[in-house]
Amino acid sequence: MKKVNSLFIVDDDPITVFGIKKMLKPICDCDDIQIFENGKEAIDALKNRIELGDTIPEVIFLDINMPIMDGWDFLEEFILLDLQERVTINMITSSIDPLDYQKWNEFKVKCPHSLNYRNKPIFKIEISDLESIDLAS
């Protein structure tokens, strides 16, 4: 069981959200799980937290295809935020578009956070998915 202070799930598909929550239950101890239907809602909430000095989520589960603001647009804004903490972002998508994979590679380089990419379906979330692995060490 891993203790996580705060965790965001950004996905417009209620089944996926249900699944993630279910898979987190046995491995994750977190009192602050927030669900967002699109990137806009999530980024607004994050900005709000920074403003108020609240806890910044340690882990974010991020979908790519969402209305209003998709996963990429979210990331674009997210990396501009002035954050001290290193956040673990798990991109979970059903997309097999090679363009998305390429984009992930590009973001991985410029993103100071831990950025993972997982194709659906997922059946299990490991504790390691909740930790930011410092590749440099």
Binding site: D13, I15, G19, N65, P67, D97, K120, I122
Partner: protein, 612 residues
């Protein structure tokens, strides 16, 4: 022998009109006429002391006068005047002088002025020399035929041209025999006969076969010489013109080759002078202009083409003439006075005269209108293909993504179900599975609709009254419009028709209007303005609203994408605009959007009026 008495000039002798002198055997002057004394410049006082031998020794070289005088026969010598510097010529005749008993007592000298004669002789010699030289240089010989004696004379040059020796003496039959058999021999026979009988002069280009068997072109001419109105002789010239004829033939052949080439080459060729006036045009250029070469020569582009085009062309001409650099393979457009447009690949090359100065230009134009049209068609086809391709890839990704996301959910939920012990949770999972199944079916329906639109190749299009179609849709939406207090401003002309598929047109109108209502601004009552404008090849139908607007910078590229929604609106599925875009494109049209956040959005639908 009685000595001649030396007395004063005998008075009778003195007056003799012809210069005459009497000389003794010893050479001493006995008597002379005044004229003789004058010629030899002897004063009457020196009369008796004058010795003829000495006198003539001064004027005649290499002849011993003493020997001369011993002669019993008369003889003559030519000499100049004595003591005078001018070049008078004289001829003195020495005749023996006898006394009554036929004894030789001396010599009688008679002297005549022959200057004129000598000069004539010299002139004749000079003229002959010139003639000879001229004849050799020009290869012009001559001939003469005496009718009475039937003798034919050939000059040296004439013989040379025939390749016969100088000693050769021709007969008429032989002379005619030198001409090439057939036409040439017949021709010269006829001409010779005519000049002899009728006095018709001739000058004719003919071929001879020389004594050495060589064929050569000659110019033979003849004219009669008359005496008392009767033809007595025929005189003529005979010239070797072989090289000239050959050169002319070569030039003509070259000219013919060039002419054939220029006229039959599938390019428009013209030559312009420094004023850009045409001085030569080929057949292709004439055909292009629909005018004869006579009508085109002397004309400038301003006479033939649209003023703007002519100006461009004149500037090009001036540039070539100024820089002496050719323009090669430039794509140009020519517009005739009647508006006919042709695409050309034009080259303009400076034309230099013999002295190396530019005196015009040669223009070569290839009509590439057909090529250009094909290129456009091809480009269009490539565009369509690439658009279709993009759409296909896009659609494939949409399909795979949507189906994958559902199947991934099924897999995940089933995995949960298998491992779930709690009955309530199991029920919950099954409920979710059934939801996922419903959504998969819905997705399949949506995708099917899109596939239908894109595969409907024989789409039935007919002219539809746009205003009527709008009215029908607005009636069906009356409740919705009412509920949201929508104000419709319809500026569409009641007569305007668009070429469209009726169910697609309805779908387009419904989607655009419901879209405008869906994204209305909560701050104001919605106003939807409908407009339509007819252009040459298309009708533009526009729907504008005063709603929320879309951030074009951010979402401009995604507006018509599938499952793309940009507002926090629970009704939004991101399907409507994607569907109508496909419907419009299936009808050969297009759709664009323009928007400003919190001001409103305008959608422009372009109906293509050309049958495709």
């Amino acid at each position: 022998m009685k000595a001649v008495e030396r007395i004063a000039q005998h008075y009778l002798l003195k007056q003799l009109p012809r210069a005459t002198a009497f000389v003794g055997k010893d050479g001493m002057l006995v008597d002379a006429s005044d004229s003789w004394l004058h010629i030899f410049n002897i004063s009457p006082k020196a009369f008796f002391t004058t010795n003829i031998f000495d006198l003539f020794r001064e004027v005649v070289e290499n002849i011993d006068i003493q020997d001369f005088l011993k002669n019993s026969e008369a003889s003559t010598i030519r000499h100049h005047e004595i003591g005078h510097t001018n070049k008078q010529w004289y001829e003195s005749t020495f005749a023996p002088w006898f006394d009554e008993k036929e004894n030789l007592v001396g010599t009688i000298i008679q002297t005549d002025d022959i200057t004129a004669l000598v000069e004539k002789e010299l002139e004749l010699e000079r003229v002959n020399a010139i003639l000879q030289a001229q004849s050799e240089v020009l290869k012009v010989g001559n001939w003469e035929y005496d009718i009475e004696s039937e003798k034919l004379f050939w000059s040296e040059e004439t013989k040379k041209i025939h390749h016969v020796p100088i000693s050769y003496t021709p007969e008429v039959s032989e002379a005619i025999g030198f001409y090439k058999q057939g036409y040439y021999q017949n021709k010269i026979s006829m001409l010779f006969h005519q000049v002899m009988t009728k006095g018709t002069p001739f000058s004719q280009k003919l071929i001879i076969v020389t004594a050495t068997g060589e064929e050569r072109w000659v110019q033979a001419a003849g004219k009669p010489i008359l005496k008392d109105g009767k033809i007595i002789k025929v005189f003529g010239t005979f010239q070797d013109i072989h090289e000239k004829v050959m050169a002319e033939t070569k030039t003509k052949e070259n000219e013919q080759l060039l002419y054939t080439l220029i006229n039959n080459i599938p390019l428009n060729i013209y030559v312009k002078n420094l004023d850009s006036k045409k001085i030569l045009v080929n057949k292709a250029e004439c055909e292009h202009m629909g005018k004869s070469s006579k009508e085109l020569i002397g004309k400038s582009d301003f006479d033939l083409y649209d003023t703007e085009i002519a100006k461009i062309s004149r500037d090009e001409d001036l540039e070539v003439i100024r820089t002496l650099k050719p323009i090669l393979g430039k794509e140009t457009i020519s517009i005739k006075k009647n508006g006919e447009t042709t695409n050309f690949l034009t080259s303009k090359i400076p034309l230099f005269n013999y002295d190396g100065n530019v005196n015009g230009l040669i223009g070569i134009s290839m009509d590439i209108t057909a090529l250009k049209k094909k290129e456009d068609q091809l480009r269009n086809l490539i565009n369509i293909t690439s658009v279709q391709n993009k759409k296909l890839i896009n659609f494939a990704h949409i399909v795979s993504h949507n189906l994958r996301s559902h199947s991934a959910n099924f897999s995940m939920l089933l995995e949960f179900l298998i491992n779930e012990k709690d009955e309530t949770e199991k029920e919950n999972i099954v409920k979710m599975l059934s939801q996922a199944s419903d959504r998969l079916l819905e997705t399949l329906d949506n995708l099917n609709e899109v596939v239908d639109i894109n595969t409907n190749m024989d789409l039935e299009k007919k002219p539809l009254n746009l205003h009527e179609s709008l009215t029908k849709v607005l009636q069906s939406l009356a409740a919705l419009l009412d509920k949201n207090q929508v104000k419709i401003v319809n500026h569409v002309d009641k007569e305007l028709c668009v070429s469209a598929n009726s169910s697609y047109l309805n779908s387009i109108i419904i989607n655009l209007i419901t879209n405008a209502i869906k994204y209305r601004s909560p701050k104001r009552n919605p106003i939807i303005t409908l407009n339509a404008q007819k252009h040459e090849r298309q009708v533009v139908f526009s729907v504008s609203d005063n709603g929320l607007g879309i951030d074009m910078e951010r979402y401009g590229g995604k507006i018509f994408g599938l499952y793309k929604t940009f507002h926090d609106n629970k009704d939004a599925k991101g399907l409507g605009l994607y569907i109508i875009r496909n419907q419009i494109e299936a009808m050969g049209g297009s759709i664009t959007a323009n928007s400003e956040v919190d001001k409103g959005t305008i959608f422009n639908v372009y109906f293509n009026e050309e049958s495709q």
